[in-house]
């Protein structure tokens, strides 16, 4: 096998020209850019949380219990005098971490399973596909709640539960993508020149099924952030006193009349970050998928 032969049929999913076209398309899409800006903003806030000039998230000020927004506390204080803005900034860490880690779990388990199913076909495919259908049959949140209940309530377990519940989407997607890539000429040629299974999967199939997986992962981060907030809201995610947007809303609902700001701001934060990932995901899909106009 000569080096030239391989490089001739080397399959880059997005050759440079196409990649720059995708980037140009993405740049021209104002809502995708807005999504990107929102996501970057929250990422920066979450990463810089320890450096920002706000009180600690667990610092209580008994002289300022349930105070409406003011100069010292721009988003007000909660039922034990903690600064709502500070808890939101630190809560961003929990939300983004949960979104990214649970989707990583889903991708790292789901994509290899899906690729193996699509590549091997036959019995392997049948078993993996039935397994995926079984997992898909339980509604996402109910499955996550059941898993979190049995694993015990904590942020880590919530991430595992969300990741496992989101995994079937990636199995399905990568299986379908693998099946379609397998019919391409360059895969046939690579097989003809004797490239082994691992090389074929790693160098020819994985790079080509990657764009739709990136799109799906971005959109799933949005779903995962809502799922984490939901689990924390139910008391199955981040445990107090550690800050999390969902847990803040859970407490806030008991003080709706006296301190509505406690419920307002964490909800807006969840909404914005989820909207950001949704806009970004939609924009990436439009930019990477030539069919979708």
């Amino acid at each position: 096998m000569s080096v030239t032969a391989t490089s001739e049929i080397e399959a880059d999913p997005l050759p440079p020209r196409q990649r720059s076209r995708a980037w140009a398309k993405f740049r021209r899409n104002p809502s995708a850019l807005l999504g990107g800006v929102i996501v970057v903003f929250f990422l920066v806030v979450a990463l810089l949380a320890p450096l920002l000039p706000v009180p600690g998230p667990a610092e209580t000020d008994w002289s300022a219990v349930r105070k409406p927004p003011n100069a010292a506390h721009p988003f007000g204080t909660d039922e034990i005098g903690r600064d709502v803005l500070s808890r939101m900034i630190w809560g961003a860490q929990a939300s983004l971490l949960a979104g990214v880690v649970s989707v990583l779990i889903a991708v790292l388990l789901g994509v290899p399973l899906g690729m193996v199913a699509g590549y091997m076909r036959g019995w392997t495919d049948a078993v993996i596909s039935r397994f995926t259908e079984a997992l898909l049959a339980a509604p996402f949140l109910i499955l996550a709640i059941a898993l979190a209940a049995f694993l015990g309530p904590s942020l880590t377990n919530a991430m595992i539960a969300i990741g496992l519940s989101a995994m079937p989407i990636f199995v399905r997607l990568s299986r379908a993508q693998t099946l379609s890539v397998m019919t391409e000429d360059y895969v046939e040629s690579a097989r003809a020149i004797g490239i082994g299974h691992v090389g074929l999967i790693w160098r020819y199939i994985l790079p080509n099924i990657f764009p739709p997986i990136i799109v799906q992962a971005t959109l799933t981060i949005a779903t995962a952030i809502i799922a984490e907030a939901s689990l924390s809201f139910l008391g199955l995610g981040q445990q107090p006193p550690a800050p999390s947007w969902g847990a803040m809303l859970n407490t806030a609902k008991n003080f709706l009349e006296q301190a509505p700001w406690m419920a307002l701001y964490p909800g807006i934060a969840i909404f914005l970050v989820v909207l950001g990932f949704n806009l970004l995901g939609d924009g990436l899909r439009d930019a990477l998928d030539p069919r979708d106009t």
Partner: protein, 314 residues
Amino acid sequence: MLAFLGRRILIAIPTVFLISVFVFALQHLLPGDPILVMAGEERDPEVIAALREKYRMNDPVPVQYLAWAGNALQGDLGISLRTQQPVLELIAEKLPVTIQLAVMALTIAILIGIPAGVLSAYKKGTWVDWLANIVALSGLSVPNFWLGIMLILLVSVKLGWLPASGYMPISEDPLQSIRIMIMPAFVLGTALAATLMRHTRSAMLSVLKSDYIRTARAKGLREHIVLVKHALRNALVPVVTVITLLFGELLAGAVLTEQIFTIPGFGKLVVDAVFNRDYAVVQGIVLCTGVAFIAMNILADAAYRVLNPRMSDQ
């Protein structure tokens, strides 16, 4: 059609089997001896012995599974630790409440989502389309439990228009029942409306490009007739399938909505079961929703074939 249904049911059997294995395996995730956990705080030795006997805990795991699955097949999903009621009975008792909520939410979603999708596709590229898309994406991005809290704050606390919580069976006082349920149904319906809008829009866009629409317009038919009778009727085929598949989202959304509005339905049952460590109820609920979801999938396929006769000979 019968042969098709038979074939689909046969294909579903291994999936149902896997769901049951998964649900059975859940109890082995519990730290320590699941029987001690199931027996509750009192740890009555008689209860423990009876549970051990019932679940054949001294037998190998496959035998335990067979005993559990055998009971489940006969409708015995265990007993709730909290209420001492059979799990299936408990689920059957709470289900009508959630079904009412789900039907109302779906009605709201259809009334908003489909017209918005049609309008957005018809006005593609204009500000109407842009606005509809932004609203839909916002509907998908807003956490429905937060929307519920905000609506309670505005509509119940500030304006005093609608009750913030409670439940009235529709058979006792239909008007009051709808009045109590309308806000939770709206909260649950928004995300679904957004999903339906996006599906209707993309289905309408592809239908509007087809030849028969051009022919209909060329015949001089009025635009609203072309839109509703020719385009929408065909665009609705995939949308109906989506509606059937939204069932899972409805159930999951109901968990949070019922929690916020303290509606004594299926969703509240799950959360209460989780916090009371009523594991048999959690398992029963996952099993039942899984089986129901598969049934809805089969129905969706059947509906698709009925609506799209070209599929029926495949």
